[in-house]
Amino acid sequence: MLRGKVPDGIAEGKVGFNCLCLGQTCRVVCVDPSGGVSCRLMEMGLTPGTEFTVTKVAPFGDPIEIDVRGARICLRRVEAKEISVEKVS
């Protein structure tokens, strides 16, 4: 349930939000700022280069909670698709 397939169009090493699982630490690689959600996520501290950890997955698999800059933010996987990340650990 937690691991989707890597969507097309995302280069090797980069993954989308839909394939992150619990406990994963990641770094934001690039953000497509045309989407409303990614703009808000940047404003909340998810700028390129920022590391974050997936701290929680909701009982139904979505949304997920991440720890970014010490704050816990919850977001929907589908909505965060404009952000690509790379796994750190």
């Binding site: 700022p33 808000r40 996520l41 404003e43 501290g45 933010i73 977001l75 929907r76």
Partner: protein, 717 residues
């Protein structure tokens, strides 16, 4: 820009959601608060008065913001207050609440408020939380770096409030505008420098920070000031386009530069020995958002809340009702000999006030729970846990609370829609919540199921049908939500990005203030409307009344031997005739043809109309119109028999099983509840949505009951 001397200073309290802003507002203003709406939208406008030296200043509690670039109506309203483009004018001072435990993100927002060109004071909150985690902030250093006074406050203990007051006074007196160099790259720094020079040459004195914000954000305050100076409008917009047009960094540059700056500030002011240990809050959260236990706890919390509204409020409501009954009994004899005045006071005024007051226990109890859930941080977890259930409808998991509350009563349910984070989802919730089967529908179900289902099919089917009736509204709510999203409330989906704040003990003062302010808001606005409508309905049921008509009814009674034989007294007969001939009764007769396809005659139609003040009134209205008097209980066997005996003029029985089901379905879906409509008016700020709600629900009820009656009657021959 200078503070005007002829009015009280205006203080705008701004900051991130969950930063402790509202607690600070409560601490500063106490019970000196006023709750209203921003014109035309469901966004709440909370203002208060606070002591400032020898005088008072007015404080606006600006809705929480993550950014000065709004994506929703709520955020738009909030940014307008800060920029000074809202109705109340430019704030004399911004008190920017900065949560020390979330320093970077709060500084990001602070950096954007520099565009407002207003003297600023930072209130530093959550320093006590930080301390408990072994961390500390150097507030003097922070003040140096931000160029404004920084005052640590612990609102619930009253710590720092006096310092904050004097810092505010100094900020107003000195009118020093904040200036922060955030180390933006040259692509921004150079045009800022040029534009600043250009403005200075034109005699416009502004800070570089304000120029920078105006350059990066077309809605910043300075842009509004320069709107009628075309040379500057183009100068700014050309340079803005150049920055945004830079493919490599354009759109991410702004946020990246601010966070880089915020990160540097944090490093300098924060004393964090080692990696902070796992927070206590996380351990609680592991349990409360666990995929098994989390859902169990959630179900238990919701059950407790619902049961409390349902059962705890009940005795209080009964007490209020009997109090008003006593009052009626006490007032009535004083007006003997003045029948119109007597009826106006007893059945109109006292009943109307009684109706309003009866809602208070539910509202107060519900808002006790909501403010505890909100203050503790659990409300955000509700959104997290239940997101999947509501996400498809453009709502989030918090919608669970207004919907659940609406099963007790739509009035508190609609008021609870304020837990929804944005105008659109709040409106969707408000429009659909009244479809939930509230407790006022219960007496109608009990009467009709008791009279028509139970005798025929036995208690098991009766119980089951009562259970099923509670789902009729829910069944329609789903497609209606979908339709609303596709039509009226169509638009760009708002990003669902939610913060899950640390768990905290809810503060008694904040909880109490919420309960009081909700009760006050309801009494003042919705209450007034409900009261006026009660009087109108009373008048429609009372007039026209004449002694001649009464005499005629009495003569008719002496001739109606059959009615006498069935035990109907003269008084009850006259009451029934009076209702039938009242304006409302005449209206009921007039629209009988429209309701005939649903199986209702003019008596049922009139009873439905008379139930507009509240659904449960239909039982006593039916009592009167079937000549049994108004003191009817829904379980009364007299009423059941009278209703079952009633016939159409041609002798066919009026009530078949399908008429009963049709009537129940009508009541499940219709909008016969003026309190609900008055509350919708209050919460949305306009009659438009109340009218919309009434229209769609009435049409839905009307059409569904016709379909049920016609199809049902045909199926069973």
């Amino acid at each position: 820009m200078a503070s005007q001397q002829d009015r009280a200073a205006l203080i705008a309290l701004v900051g991130n959601p969950n930063s402790g802003k509202t607690s600070l507002f409560n601490a500063l203003t106490g019970s000196n608060q006023k709750v209203g709406n921003y014109p035309g939208v469901t966004v709440e406008r909370v203002t208060g008065k606070m002591r400032l030296g020898d005088s008072y200043a007015s404080v606006v509690d600006v809705p929480g913001l993550y950014s000065m670039r709004p994506v929703s109506v709520d955020e738009e309203v909030a940014t307008e207050v800060i920029s000074g483009t809202a109705a109340e004018g430019e704030p004399d001072v911004l008190v920017c609440v900065v949560d020390a435990s979330n320093l970077e993100r709060n500084l990001f927002f602070f950096s954007q408020t520099l565009g407002a060109q207003a003297p600023t004071v930072v209130a530093l909150t959550m320093t006590d939380v930080l301390k408990s985690e072994g961390r500390a902030v150097d507030d003097r250093k922070l003040s140096e770096l931000l160029g404004v006074e920084v005052v640590p406050v612990v609102s619930h203990k009253g710590i720092g409030l006096d310092d904050l007051r004097s810092a505010i006074t100094r900020a107003i007196d000195e009118h020093r505008l904040p200036e922060v160099d955030m180390g933006f790259p040259a692509i921004v720094r150079e045009p800022v420098f040029e534009l600043h020079e250009q403005l200075a040459r034109a005699g416009i004195d502004v800070t570089k920070s304000a120029v920078r914000e105006a350059l990066l954000d077309e809605n910043a305050a300075l842009n509004h000031r320069l709107a009628n100076l075309p040379e500057f409008v183009t100068a700014f917009s050309d340079r803005r386009a150049a920055i945004l047009g830079n493919a490599a960094t354009g759109k991410t540059l702004d946020a990246q530069a601010r966070y880089a700056w915020a990160g540097r500030v944090r490093k300098e002011v924060m004393n964090e020995p080692g990696v902070s240990s796992r927070r206590a809050s996380d351990r609680i959260d592991d349990f409360l958002t666990h995929r098994v236990f989390g859902l169990i706890v959630f179900a238990a919390v919701m059950y407790l809340m619902f049961q409390s509204i349902y059962t705890l409020a009940r005795p209080l409501m009964d007490l209020i009702a009997s109090g008003f009954d006593w009052l009626k009994g006490a007032v009535s004899p004083l007006l003997n000999g003045h029948p119109v005045a007597q009826s106006l006071v007893v059945d109109g005024v006292v009943t109307g006030i009684g109706t309003v007051v009866t809602f208070l226990p539910q509202i107060v109890i519900l808002f006790f729970f909501i403010s505890v859930l909100e203050g503790s941080g659990y409300l955000s977890r509700v959104a997290f846990l239940m997101d999947r259930l509501f996400g498809w409808a453009g709502l989030n998991g918090r919608a669970f609370i207004p919907f659940l509350s609406s099963f007790a009563c739509a009035v508190p349910g609609i008021m609870a829609a304020r837990v929804m984070p944005d105008h659109r989802s709040r409106l969707a919730t408000i429009l659909v919540a009244p479809l939930m089967s509230c407790s006022a529908r219960l007496p109608v179900y009990i009467l009709l199921i008791g009279a028509f289902v139970e005798p025929k099919f036995g208690p098991v089917v009766a119980g089951l049908s009562l259970f099923l009736m509670h789902f009729v509204g829910l069944f329609f709510a789903v497609p209606i939500l979908w339709l609303l999203n596709k039509s009226l409330l169509k638009g760009k989906r708002l990003p669902f990005v939610l913060e899950l704040p640390r768990y905290q003990w809810p503060r008694l003062k904040d909880v109490a203030l919420t309960m009081v302010s909700r009760a006050k808001v309801f009494m003042k606005t919705a209450g007034t409307i409900i009261f006026i409508l009660s009087i109108v309905i009373w008048a429609l049921l009372y007039f026209p009344r004449s002694q001649a008509a009464d005499a005629r009814y009495q003569v008719d009674y002496t001739h109606a031997t059959q009615i006498q034989a069935s035990g109907v007294t003269l008084d009850k007969y006259v009451d029934g005739r009076r209702m039938a001939d009242s304006y409302l009764g005449r209206f009921g007769r007039a629209i009988e043809p429209a309701f005939k396809p649903a199986g209702f005659d003019w008596r049922l139609t009139t009873a439905i109309l008379a139930a507009f003040p509240a659904r449960e009134v239909v039982v006593s209205a039916m009592g009167i119109i079937f000549d049994l008097g108004g003191d009817m209980e829904s379980g009364s066997s007299d009423l059941k028999q009278a209703v079952a005996r009633a016939t159409w003029p041609d002798g066919r029985p009026l009530m078949t099983i399908w008429t009963a089901i049709s009537l129940m379905v009508f009541f499940a879906l219709c909008s016969q509840c003026m309190a609900t409509l008055a509350t919708i008016k209050r919460e949305t700020g306009t009659w438009k949505w109340a009218a919309f709600s009434f229209t769609y629900m009435t049409l839905l009820a009307y059409m569904t009951s016709i379909i049920v009656f016609q199809v049902g009657t045909r199926l069973t021959g």
